[in-house]
Amino acid sequence: MSQDPPTTSGSRIRQVEAISNGSVIDHIPTAVTLKVAAMLAGSGDQLFIGANLRSSRMGRKGVVKIAGREISAHAASCLALLAPGATVSIIHDYQVLRKLPVEVPAEFTDVARCANPNCVTNHERWSSRLAVVGREPLRVRCCYCERSFLGTDLALM
């Protein structure tokens, strides 16, 4: 059985490679870590991914680091849908320059496709609009077909 590296404060060992500049997305639920990474990988940036890491707050968590760039506004919206409890830190010269809140909007527009295959938005050239109807876990309701889904069940656009 593999052993987790010690993470006690004071003798902290990084579980994921440090980056000199860029964005660190922490406290990602383990189940969606790779989905978040796949979403961010589309940009072509260099990514460092940690999955199933120990977390005192969450038990297990994921971390994704983007080297050399701040997270885009679209990626932040996607993050709010997949991992609304995540935290984002902007890193400059190995230091945390600032922390960004992951803000869950009242409605996600053109962030994810409705999961109902018969929804009109999957057949016409039209915007996807998903209204937030629950926060923990994040649930959204399609403004067109009126079906509800977990945010983590949706395919990003």
Binding site: N118, V120, E124, Y144, C145
Partner: protein
């Protein structure tokens, strides 16, 4: 209460006071009879999938009030087959009509149409999602047969029987009834029970819900028995369907223990679930229910077109 220019897309868009206003207008229209309430207006019926009863009801509603009708009921004859988007079809039709009624196989199509259109859009059924004018006519029928629905003087016992899992009319009516003082009784074959989200909605609205074992029990314990059709395609095993179909059939003899004022409704078409010997009993109200579609749709058309009944 002004509904001029408003779209009728989903029963969820309506508050209790608005529902009562629409039902009161429908009663006024019905009392007045045929007239010129909709004279000089043109309704476009865009039926992207066939629905004889809904289309005829909307068209009759217009014609009985001196309104005019254009439209199609066969998508093969439209530009949709040439690849035209729904939004473009709506932008074209709104040039010709004062109100659009749309029926479409895709869930959410009516909402999309309403976002595009400058004239009011009425949803005549969008896929498995909503059919709000059916719900308004169901409520109108219940209120007419059991006035306690609108007055709230006592809790009505309303039973639903049949395919409660997939039945669009059942879901919308349950949602709407949560605005009123009712108790719900449910009888459904195994696997076709009412989905949890509607049970939860009823619980949150303070509506008591209980399951009953048979159609007889439902008939004996209810003021309204709302029956729906069982569809063979919902059953993975054809033998199971045959078995359920045989046990799920209301006959006149089964109504012996029913409350005298109990009334049976059905959105139609019925197949085997109500024997024809029920039709002659005072309990049968499903054909009158279909007829109520006329004043209800006339009232809705008049309201969104700014015509005062």
């Amino acid at each position: 209460m002004d509904f001029t220019g408003r779209d009728i897309i989903s029963i969820a868009d309506f508050q209790r006071s608005e529902i009562l206003h629409i039902l009161a207008r429908a009663a006024e229209v019905e009392a007045t009879g045929r007239g010129k309430l909709l004279a000089g207006t043109v309704m476009a019926t865009l039926f992207f999938e066939p629905s004889t009863r809904t289309r005829l009801s909307f068209e009759a509603a217009m014609l009985h009030q001196d309104g005019r009708v254009i439209g199609f009921s066969d998508v093969a004859s439209t530009s949709t087959r040439k690849g035209e988007s729904l939004a473009d079809t709506i932008r074209m039709v709104e040039q010709y009509a004062d109100v659009i009624v749309i029926r479409h196989p895709r869930d959410g199509a009516a909402r999309l149409a309403a976002e595009v259109s400058r004239v009011p859009v009425i949803n005549g059924g969008d896929g498995a999602n909503q059919h709000p004018t059916q719900t308004f006519l169901d409520l109108y029928t219940i209120a007419k047969l059991q006035p306690a629905l609108a007055t709230g003087e006592r809790a009505l016992d309303i039973a639903f029987a049949g395919d409660l899992r997939y039945g669009r009319t059942v879901h919308s009516l349950v949602h709407a009834l949560c605005h009123f003082r009712v108790n719900l009784l449910l009888v459904a074959p195994r696997g076709l029970e009412l989905p949890e989200q509607y049970l939860e909605e009823a619980r949150q609205a303070g509506v008591a819900v209980r399951t009953v074992a048979s159609l007889q029990e439902a008939a004996a314990q209810s003021d309204i028995l709302y029956m729906t059709r069982l569809q063979e395609e919902r059953f993975p095993d054809p033998l199971e369907f045959d078995h359920v179909k045989a046990s799920y059939r209301m006959t006149a003899a089964m109504l012996a223990g029913a409350r005298p004022s109990m009334r049976i409704l059905h959105p139609l078409p019925r197949v085997n679930e109500i024997a024809t010997d029920v039709d002659a009993t005072p309990h049968a109200q499903y054909f009158a229910q279909a007829g109520n579609g006329i004043p209800v749709r006339q009232a809705l058309l008049a309201l969104v077109l700014g015509r005062q009944p």
